[in-house]
């Protein structure tokens, strides 16, 4: 039988495919491209900051560099990363379906994503944009002399791609589960993708309409956010963060989903407290919508609103914390293997905990006043989005690589890159916590000389980190063509995706399976050693 990779070789067979697995690979290639563009911009930023007033690039170029970095990394890498690549590839396999509910819509999503990416990149090429990814008004509407509308258009188009992907994932989870695959037997990755898809559907439209208002403001000279006409700049911030805070959970929930799969497989244990973890997943997705105002404690919001958003932020920390404890308890009396995906997974847990607890610092009102808009915040969200999400993404890539490509990656190199990324990450971002605490504001092209030591350390770490990301690019590319063939289930993992050949046939399942066991049924008898 032909695998999905052998179903056609021409460009047409890829560009017109409706196979969820091929579309996943299209996303994989596209977002890898965007990741290195965003990484290039990060390199410029870190190089410029080695010296307090290096002037390596001009202030305007610096502002464009961090805007490119953030716009590309947020909307063209992180948001689609796990949901669009692994959600696409794995959701039908994990629930025992032949494809997503709307395969053609799925392809349309990818085209919209690429169209959005192309428009945004075009805006960056013809001169860039200098507003930061936050597009705060009235700077973005009136004062910025850069290609705001072009880049906004790209982001909005990519937003529609997100909405349609989310729709597809939700409907698939509801309607295409194999017989016997009841909700409480779903792998937790599916729960995570489902919760993420709900956020995509409910939050992204608000971003779309907000950015459309900004564009209308800029093109037509409307005064919606402009105080000269009675508009309120804080209205923009409320609408923007109503999307952009849940967007963090769009990035981190799927990552947590991945970790559930990795931790159970490589400790040969069922997840500790399945129901609590599933409930926590939905809890995070819901409460994540209630906390957006914690980005605005010094923005001129009312004191009472600040109280409300602060306490709700403490509440959302609870379900996040539950997961960490559950992962720890899952290792207890397990059989732990330190394969590369597991190393990435353990790295995720460590960095996510640090990112999470510093989130509590930022939720604490009086303390947030000091560190908000400083490098403390920069470090915090990089711990969550890069230390967390990207680590989990790398773990997922290694874990399911044999399934996706039918080839094994070199294990030693994988382990080396996991360690390198972990160490490089800490060296890059731990000093940034200190910088923020000491009072270095973010988005600074020039900084006071006493901050140089920490900036130099951070830049040094960034170069280690860059190496850590380039390494997998090299050996995974090698593996895709020359790696040793992968067995169907190289890790001895549970889950429907491991019951079919690597790489899977075009139809996934010759016969739709019937599920009669819980997820992660690694067998108690193994554990009685």
């Amino acid at each position: 039988m032909n695998t999905y990779l052998q179903a056609g070789y021409g460009l047409r067979s890829w560009l017109l495919t409706t196979d969820h697995k091929r579309i996943a690979l299209l996303y994989l290639v596209s977002i890898t491209f965007f990741f290195f563009i965003g990484g290039g911009a990060a390199t410029l930023i870190r190089l410029n900051l080695v010296v307090p007033d290096s002037g390596l690039i001009s202030a305007d170029s610096y502002n464009r560099a961090f805007t490119i970095h953030s716009v590309v990394m947020v909307w063209f890498f992180l948001i689609p990363s796990i949901p669009a690549v692994f959600g696409n590839f794995l959701l039908p396999l994990m629930i025992g379906a032949r494809d997503l509910a709307f395969p053609r819509l799925n392809l349309l999503s990818w085209y919209l994503f690429m169209a959005g990416g192309t428009v945004a990149l075009w805006g960056l090429i013809i001169g860039g944009v200098d507003t930061g990814w936050t597009f705060y008004t009235p700077f973005s509407t009136t004062y910025s002399n850069s290609h705001v509308v072009t880049v906004l258009t790209g982001v909005v188009i990519a937003g529609f791609s997100s909405i349609l992907t989310g729709l597809n994932l939700v409907v698939t989870t509801h309607t295409l589960r194999a017989p016997g695959m009841v909700w409480m037997r779903l792998p937790l990755f599916v729960w995570a993708i489902y919760a993420t898809a709900l956020i995509l559907i409910l939050a992204t439209p608000i971003l779309a309409v907000t950015l459309i208002l900004v564009a209308a403001d800029r093109i037509g000279g409307l005064g919606l956010f402009d105080p000269r006409f009675g508009g309120d700049p804080l209205l923009f911030q409320h609408l923007f963060w109503f999307y952009s805070h849940p967007a963090v959970y769009i990035m981190v929930l799927p990552a947590m989903g991945v970790i559930n799969e990795l931790v159970t497989c490589f400790s040969r244990r069922r997840i500790f407290g399945y129901r609590f973890v599933a409930a926590a997943t939905l809890g995070i997705a819901s409460i994540g919508f209630l906390v957006w105002g914690h980005h605005m404690f010094v923005a001129g919001m009312s004191v009472y609103a600040s109280f409300v958003f602060s306490i709700l932020t403490f509440v959302v920390a609870v379900p996040s914390g539950v997961k960490v404890y559950n992962w720890t308890a899952t290792l207890y009396k397990g059989r732990v293997q330190f394969k590369a995906p597991m190393l990435f997974g353990l790295g995720f847990i460590g960095l996510f905990v640090m990112g999470g607890v510093t989130g509590l610092f930022l939720a604490s009102l009086a303390f947030d006043v000091h560190v908000t808009d400083t490098y403390f915040v920069v470090a915090h969200f990089h711990f969550i989005m890069v230390g967390g999400t990207v680590s989990a993404y790398m773990g997922a890539l290694h874990f399911w690589w044999p399934k996706m490509t039918g080839r094994m990656y070199p294990e030693r190199w994988g382990q080396a890159s996991a360690v390198l990324i972990f160490a490089g990450f800490l060296l890059t971002f731990l000093p940034q916590y200190l910088l923020g605490w000491l009072g270095m504001p973010r988005r600074y092209w020039h900084y006071p000389p006493e901050f140089q030591v920490w900036n130099v350390l951070s830049s040094a770490g960034a170069s280690v980190l860059a190496l850590g990301y380039l390494l997998p690019l090299a050996y995974l590319l090698w593996s895709a063509f020359f790696g040793p063939p992968a067995p169907d289930n190289p890790w001895g993992a549970k889950g429907l995706e491991w019951t079919i050949p690597s790489p899977p046939p075009k139809e996934n399942f010759v016969e739709i399976p019937h599920v009669d066991e819980p997820a992660y049924n690694y067998g108690e008898e193994d554990s009685h050693g």
Partner: protein, 337 residues
Amino acid sequence: MAMSGIAFWPVAASSYAAQIDWLFVALVVVTGAISVPAITALVWFAVKYREGNPADRRQPPQRKVWLEIGWTTVPFVLTLAVFVWAAALYRDHADLPAEGLEISVVAKQWMFKFQHPGGQRELDELHVPAGQNVKLLMTSQDVIHSLFLPALRIKQDVLPGRVTALWFKADRPGVYHLHCAEYCGTNHSLMGTRFVVMRPEEYQAWLTHAGEDTALAAEGGRLFREVGCSGCHENRNSPVRAPNLCGVFGSSVALADGRVVVADEAYIRDSILLPGRDIVAGFKNDMPNFTGKLTEAQVQALVAYVKSLALAGDEVGRVQLPPNGLAAGSVCRGAVR
């Protein structure tokens, strides 16, 4: 204690800042108490139960409801205590004290302009007396800025069309940083420089000196009209086109020969005495040479006046400020740059 050049702890210049530092310590302790055991256990389990290591693996637990409820509620209650503390500090600091020195702040791309109750103005630097409540009433002329005083652990966004406030009581004289913390465009990182806390008597002396500057600027304003500068630099119907001087001081000026210079005291002085040297892009060299026609004191007065124009700024779209708000220089009212 900071090692040579390596800082670990920011300077605290007020008792409020010290309280924030204690809050920071509490946060470290509480979050440590929540996370360190979990991470320790994670590492310990990973090592102890690594494959191939003989360990007791009998009867692994699948779930323990009391454990789940315990590790959900205990950390939450612990952190709740921090919430209450942090929120109380925040609320206490949100209300302006009744008594105190009121300083008006106008932010624009890319400078902060301060005006003291006696009318003394300063640009980007802020001088305040120690041991006294200081209230900053702030607004912006263009985009959102944020006044950040790290040594006091406070910041507040400065919005167009609205007055926001910040207050503090600094008690440790010294020179600290003053930053813009909300991204505001090209020179965001160059906005704001020094925050100077002075002993009250030093502050009084400074005020007097700054007051003299103000008087000097007023003298310069009279000269500006008498010797004829205003005929071209202020009158838009004049046959001779000359650059409007509103807000020029401190800004970057593009010259006809392509250079860009910062308009500082020396530049203004040169422009009066050697007008042919630095011609602003888009203008002709029509300005008479004033060398020998003005005394040194008069030149100083004129420079002070041009400097004061930048402090007053252009007043397009200004909101109403409190009574002692910055008065607009007459030249700049309605002027468009």
